[in-house]
Symmetry: C2
Subunit: 230 residues, 2 copies
């Protein structure tokens, strides 16, 4: 019997969550958690989630449907009336794909689950420096969330959120993933709902720039591959 403690990993199916799972895998028994929340890419992300769970031999898996995001709207990710904008990596504005307070919703669910299964860690692949301007991807947000866990749960002393790649940029994520044998070919990043990545949305642009900066070829197929260097 393994005496490892259990860590819940929030796995969207993208590179960041895949690398985060690899970090959690070093020390913990893994429990994978995925959300369908009306995002355009629900079907494709779920496949990536299960492919990654198979790769890491994860038997504790949960997929929750958070339908309220779709009803709330306000994001191009969940509201079909709002267009997925083409990437502008130089813009300082919060992009249209921003889903308000999404990470707080995700982490709150993870904490509820953690209390019941007795997990001691929640891993999330948030990235502060290379992010798209989402306020709930910042270190200060996770620090405040850990305070909230302390005051809001029974198992107050133990459970903590960890963000092992919070200081990485996408170049480092690519290089570190290769080093840790993360199966990047199984991941999915594109915000549009196709079988081939669009290559032009914020998420594709950030991913492609990471590979280009790392000097490595992305194993995924793209409709269009532009240079995002400079």
């Amino acid at each position: 019997m393994s005496k490892k403690e259990t860590a819940i990993v929030l796995v969207s199916g993208g590179m960041d969550s895949a690398l985060t799972a690899a970090y959690a895998f070093l020390k913990y028994r893994l429990a994978f958690l995925h959300f369908n929340y009306g995002q355009r890419t629900e079907r494709r992300e779920l496949k990536a989630f299960n492919d990654l769970a198979d790769y890491y031999n994860v038997d504790i898996r949960k997929v929750f449907n958070l339908n309220h995001f779709k009803e709330i709207g306000g994001s191009s990710l969940t509201d079909k009336k709002i267009k997925v904008s083409k990437a502008d990596l130089k813009s300082k504005r919060i992009p249209s794909s921003y889903v308000p307070f999404r990470n707080a919703n995700f982490l709150a669910v993870a904490v509820s689950w953690a209390e019941v299964i007795g997990a001691s860690r929640i891993f999330i692949g948030a990235v502060e420096e290379d992010f798209s301007g989402y306020p709930d991807c910042r270190k200060i947000f996770f620090k405040d969330f850990n305070n909230l866990i302390k005051t809001g749960t029974k198992i107050s002393s133990k459970l903590k959120v960890e963000t092992p790649i919070i200081n990485f940029d996408k170049k480092k994520i690519v290089l570190q993933s290769l080093k840790m044998k993360v199966p990047l070919n199984l991941t999915w990043s594109c915000y549009k709902n196709g079988d081939i990545a669009c290559g032009e949305c914020d998420s594709c642009a950030l991913r492609l720039r990471g590979f280009q900066q790392a000097g490595v070829k992305d194993p995924l197929k793209y409709k269009i591959i532009k240079s995002y260097l400079q």
Copy 2:
């Protein structure tokens, strides 16, 4: 046109949320939010929610289904395998009806909705002193949650959670509700799923004790009415 700001009120349908709505009604345009989360009393609570919304003329109403609580289990409120225990108002233990981190889940959804509709307040009828030992009903929890809103949202400076009855006990809730013409006959508190309140669960016991201490007759019908004084 009203120039009132909008407040989201989390309305379960119980006395606490009804009185909280009455406080919000004094200053704000109301938006009522209710959750079905697999609680035994889903159907009856929803009726109370709509009755209260009609009473306060609330046109902005949302009911979200949070199915993950049922799948997570761990509470007698959402897990049919766990029995609803009879009340023991003297016990210091967290009762079986505790749903882990429930208020954090509820508030996270409310914040997401508030960002989209531009609400500036979220009202929740949490009660610290007269509570059943739930850690996420304490003032410190809401203080930490307000910090989290500041760091996790775009409209950081404005949105705040308010807990107008956090220091009340059930006696005061009954008396204040009468003073503010809260329609207690439309509210519902029982944790069991019947058309007549059981009179014996934690929630019925707290409610009945409140009425008994206030020296007022509860307008609801009960299967059993015991004295909870002393």
